[in-house]
């Protein structure tokens, strides 16, 4: 187990190193720079500005500096926001994104589990088909289409919720969270349904039935708890999906989160924010997948993590 964890950590660092390197060189290879697009400066002043940001040095030197700073946890400074440090900019906006992300995840997974259980316990009835239909729609309809519809009907037409922006506190977070919840809801419900059906046909459920346990007890005490364990495995992909979703949903609802900042930085060629956010997203996803894998091994003793690949 320890050997496995160490191995995984080493791989995580290699992956991150590669991402950082690739991001750096891709940024350097891009046409245009944050300075050139901002204003037309005479060459002499351009040289001064470039020197200030270290852009006049040869690329290998810039790369070495960037990597050294990265090792110290310094992501550099933004070009557009008055030299604010990228770490600070990300931290300022993190809270909002985490709020809608976690609300969406919790809401989606909770409802998804409920739907999945109903479908499994009432297999091949109208309940089952209804929940499958919701799941298919949840997987199929792109989050930005769904978010747009929510915004149009619930906010613009019926004015139940704020249309966008982050002005009404928690009320503003409701629609984006619902929009984000659709993906996790669909995934969780389908997953729980399959797992529950499998668990319900296993020997220990038959044993519990023959011992006279009632349906409720069997469903919750025996089947549900065992069906829940594998759900951890989809948490990684779900987190990745939330990240994708947050990029568009923050855009649609004009929420000042990291996703929105990232898209804006792309549009304005702000290298340091693009690189910083890319690395931040990567670390986030890599750590989640790692934690999920390790947790799974700890929680479910039937899975033995070994040195070999999965």
């Amino acid at each position: 187990m320890t050997k496995y964890i160490i191995r995984r950590i080493v791989y995580m660092f290699i992956t991150l190193f590669l991402i950082a390197t690739a991001t750096f060189f891709l940024m350097k290879a891009l046409p245009g720079s944050p300075i050139s697009s901002a204003s037309k400066l005479p060459p002499s002043q351009l040289a001064v500005v470039e020197a200030k940001y270290g852009l006049d040095q040869p690329i290998p030197v810039q790369y070495a500096k960037y990597m050294l700073n990265l090792a110290k946890g310094d992501l550099g400074n933004s070009f557009q926001f008055k030299n604010a440090s990228v770490t600070e900019l990300i931290m300022n906006r993190l809270g909002v994104s985490v709020l809608i992300g976690s609300q969406g995840l919790i809401l989606g997974v909770a409802l998804g589990i409920l739907l999945g259980m109903i479908a499994a316990l009432r297999q091949n009835t109208i309940w089952d088909y209804g929940s499958t239909l919701i799941a298919i729609i949840g997987i199929s309809i792109p989050s930005f289409v769904f978010a747009t519809l929510l915004q149009y009907w619930l906010a613009v037409e019926w004015s139940i919720f704020p249309v966008g922006l982050w002005k009404d506190g928690w009320m503003s977070s409701i629609l984006p969270s619902i929009a984000l919840a659709m993906g996790p809801l669909a995934t969780a419900s389908r997953f729980i349904r399959t797992e529950m059906i499998e668990v319900l046909s296993s020997d220990y459920i038959t044993l519990a039935k023959s011992k006279g346990a009632n349906g409720f007890e069997i469903a919750f005490k025996h089947a549900f708890r065992n069906a829940l364990i594998p759900l951890i495995t989809v948490l990684g992909p779900l987190a990745a999906g939330l990240l994708t979703g947050s990029l568009v949903i923050e855009q649609i609802f004009a929420i000042p989160g990291i996703g929105e900042q990232f898209v804006k930085a792309i549009m304005s060629n702000d290298f340091s924010i693009i690189m910083g956010t890319t690395l931040f997203f990567s670390v986030f996803l890599i750590v989640i997948i790692f934690v999920v894998d390790v947790l799974y091994g700890i929680i479910d003793p039937r899975i033995r993590l070994s040195g070999g690949s999965k």
Binding site: Y11, L30, P142, V156, T244, M267
Partner: protein, 339 residues
Amino acid sequence: MSLDLKKIPAESFERVHIDSSHAERISKPSLSFWQDAWLRIRKNKAAIASIFILAFIIIMAFVGPMVSPHDAETQTITHANLPPKVPGLEKLGIFDGVGTLAGKEVDLYEMKKVDTYYWFGTDGLGRDMFSRAWEGTQISLLIAFVAALIDMVIGVAYGGISGYYGGRVDDMMQRVVEILYGIPTLVIVILMLLFMEPGVTAIIIAITLTGWIGMSRIVRGQVLKFKNQEFVLASRTLGASNGRIISKHILPNILGVIIINTMFTIPTAIFFEAFLSFIGLGLQAPDASLGTLINDGYKVIRFQPHILLYPSIILSLLMIAFNLLGDGLRDALDPKMKD
């Protein structure tokens, strides 16, 4: 009731022998894998409905722009922002070209003196949305199919080589996959799009860059499972070459899994393209895909909801149909489900 057995002549009786040579005779005609799969998918109503929906959308994507009297590119500014109007249906009070203008319901076609029909309405530049929507569908489908095909080819080749040859080769190739697998797809796709000229090719490359990894892992697992089974060993003992074993014994067995996985890659690719276009990294004007059309429509949703509506419906139907068909194929082709 008692029957005199003696009255029945002995010749009417015939001795039944158990013929051991017929013990293994199969009474039902044997079905090939594909016939069997077809029998099963035929029972799946959702999958059949999906096939029809997909066929309809694919045909319309090519025929649609042709049957429309208007061109997708022609800008007729005087015809801008018209709501949908369809001959025949207009008498029912739907699709009659009535839209709201300054809070009042007016027939915009009459007001702007337009005597033709725009089935899906027009956009802000007076372009026919019907032609545009179907041409956008064409581009979205093209990107999805090409991306899925490339994913499949690279994934099968990589996973197949890695699994079949095993040992050192497998070890090396799997290290590479392990590292690549850690890179978030979204991040790499966005970075690649920044780097390349935006366009269809760039999007396809960006999607396939990491898209093949899932396929390669599945194929490798399958190849590992099959390569040591008795029928493969028997074939090898008889002197079959690697190429023959792969093409005649292993590939046919994992074909089902490959098809299922590809079926799920297509909607993912459609979604990714639409997503990228929506945040402004995808296709650039004048090219249009479903994603860019939705993005355009989103900006004017308050005033011209029809611009958003039709591309969204087509996109959602495409995604639902591909997912349902994928589900149906999985049930039909997965040997584990066979009873």
